[in-house]
């Protein structure tokens, strides 16, 4: 199994719901707490496992606003695991999820340096590295109804632009989406082979633009309309 997420950049509206749901679930999950420093002060700073950035792609009039949520890509070649000196970072062989053992981490930051996606953040209170667990404490929980055994971010997304599944299964929803919508990996040139894939925005018909008309032409138009009657 190779579990991961597909994020649809066409439908994501940048509501930050996934980041909030992630923080809510994981602060009391297996790697919790996800603490904050100065949460209500002037410069709040805390560990989040999911960040949403907004970009403007291309130039006006063809520009498009794209919201890009980013969490751990659960890379096939995860350098964050190989650089870890304590063995706290590991990649599960059964489903490919990359995790941090909070009891072993010494907070040296080297794994966050090795990660090109900014997926790892140091907890300011605990002093250990925090990262997306793909809600490993949800997806295998047999006490939950079967359709709720998904990561918190996927459950909460109001536009269904996050899809969770097995990339090794060619018939899974994620594999189909990647095939049909030409899914892209981020920073492929670095060779980390990220599992999470992004679906580029669809091509849409160009919206017709208002063409300004001179006063003379406007009056002429009215006159023609009157005469033709």
């Amino acid at each position: 199994m190779r579990l991961g997420l597909v994020v649809d950049l066409d439908t994501c509206v940048g509501c930050h719901g996934c980041a909030t749901a992630c923080k809510q679930w994981n602060t009391s999950g297996t790697i919790g707490p996800l603490s904050d420093k100065d949460p209500y002060g002037r410069n709040p700073n805390g560990a989040w496992l999911n960040r949403i950035r907004t970009y403007e792609v291309d130039d006006s009039p063809n520009s498009k606003t794209v919201h890009m949520p980013m969490s751990c890509m659960h890379c096939d070649d995860a350098a964050c695991v190989t650089v870890c000196p304590t063995g706290a970072s590991y990649k599960r062989s059964e489903d490919g999820i990359v995790l941090v053992d909070q009891d072993k981490c010494m907070g040296c930051n080297l794994c966050s340096w090795a990660c090109p996606y900014g997926a790892r953040e140091l907890d300011p209170q605990e002093g250990t590295m925090k990262k997306c667990t793909l809600c490993v404490d949800r997806i295998y929980d047999e006490k939950l109804p079967e359709d709720e055994r998904k990561p918190a971010c996927v459950m909460t997304c109001p536009t269904k632009s996050r899809v969770f599944g097995d990339f090794d299964d060619p018939n899974s929803e994620v594999s189909k989406l990647v095939r049909e919508r030409a899914g892209k990996q981020l920073l492929p040139e670095l060779g980390y082979n990220p599992v999470n894939t992004y679906l580029p925005p669809r091509n849409k018909p160009v919206v017709e633009q208002y063409q300004p008309v001179s006063l003379k032409d406007t009056v002429k138009g009215w006159v023609n309309k009157v005469i033709s009657r």
Partner: protein, 308 residues
């Protein structure tokens, strides 16, 4: 990259200590440098103190140091783990060598000599592992190069050679010509290596905001990074220094670490040699600060940088 002061102190001090012990032991074994036991003991103790201060300082940047003992466990994959293992292995061999010199004088037996050679080899291996921690990161193109280990080893040997000349000047009261020539040669080598590195990182290369976001056929600009105040990623990777300040610091570094010490050594005076050694350490602290400040991590692309 944010330059953590503890890491700057660690890499400069331990680099100089490892360089010092390597050159001292090799000089002692091959017999081309003066071999007074006082100088050997003095140099050895200075090296051990610098390495120990450096290693202790390196633990200061850990956010959870109670788990530091676990860092010996991933020798197979992690350069940081390898560095930790070799750094600890280095101690017994060096202590046996120094004890041997203290008891037997400069004419040491085979076993002590062997321990000396092993300790100098371990010193270089440890320094190489330190440099590979940085050189192995594909995310930072300014570090991900064979120039990084070359820099660390050349500058470690360079600062070590000046310390050795300074110890000789203080303990023996007079300079040894061969040590002075070695220090000057290594200063030239270090300067060449550093200038080559500075030219190399100046070339535009590496990932861009287009490959980072996947939009490779249009311009991409950051509109909003999604949070109102800086987080861990901004603080760790977003460290930015103005270009004119970087140029001034580069000139200061080249002067402090290479040019002025070389000119001081030309005078061949004991006092000036000691000053030159201190200047090199100060210059290398600036050099290491620049090594971090000029390194641009690819995460910056997601926060709006157009290229690394």
């Amino acid at each position: 990259m944010h330059p953590a002061f503890s890491v700057l102190v660690f890499t400069v001090m331990s680099g100089a200590g490892y360089g010092l012990i390597t050159l001292m032991v090799l000089g002692h074994m091959s017999g081309f440098a003066p071999q007074e036991s006082g100088v050997l003991i003095g140099g050895g103790v200075l090296a051990l103190v610098m390495i120990t201060v450096g290693l202790l300082s390196s633990t200061l940047h850990l956010a959870n140091p109670k788990n530091a003992w676990r860092s010996f466990s991933r020798f197979k994959t992690s350069w940081l783990s390898r560095e930790a293992v070799f750094a600890v292995l280095f101690y017994p061999f060096t202590l046996i060598y120094l004890l041997g010199v203290w008891l037997q004088g400069a004419d040491v037996g085979t076993f002590v000599a062997l321990c000396g050679v092993v300790s100098s080899v371990l010193a270089m291996v440890t320094l190489f592992c330190t440099s590979m921690i940085y050189a192995s990161l594909k995310t930072i193109r300014q570090w991900n190069s064979s120039l990084t280990p070359v820099n660390y080893i050349a500058l470690g040997l360079m600062s070590g050679s000046l310390l050795l000349a300074a110890v000789q000047a203080i303990v023996a009261g007079e300079l040894a010509g061969v040590q002075l020539q070695m220090a000057m040669g290594l200063l030239v080598l270090g300067a060449v290596v550093k200038v080559v590195y500075l030219f190399w990182i100046g070339k535009p290369a590496g990932s861009t905001i287009n490959t980072a976001t996947g939009f490779t056929q249009a311009s991409v600009r950051l509109l909003d990074q999604g949070h109102t105040s800086n987080g861990f990623l901004n603080n760790e990777f977003g460290y930015t220094v103005e270009a004119n300040k970087l140029v001034r610091l580069r000139l200061l570094m080249l002067a402090l670490a290479f040019v002025v010490p070389f000119l001081l050594l030309l005078a061949a005076s004991s006092a000036l040699t000691v000053i030159a050694a201190l200047l090199v350490i100060a210059g290398l602290l600036v050099e290491r600060w620049l090594f971090f400040a000029e390194a641009r991590h690819v995460v910056r692309l997601f926060h709006g940088d157009q290229r690394t």
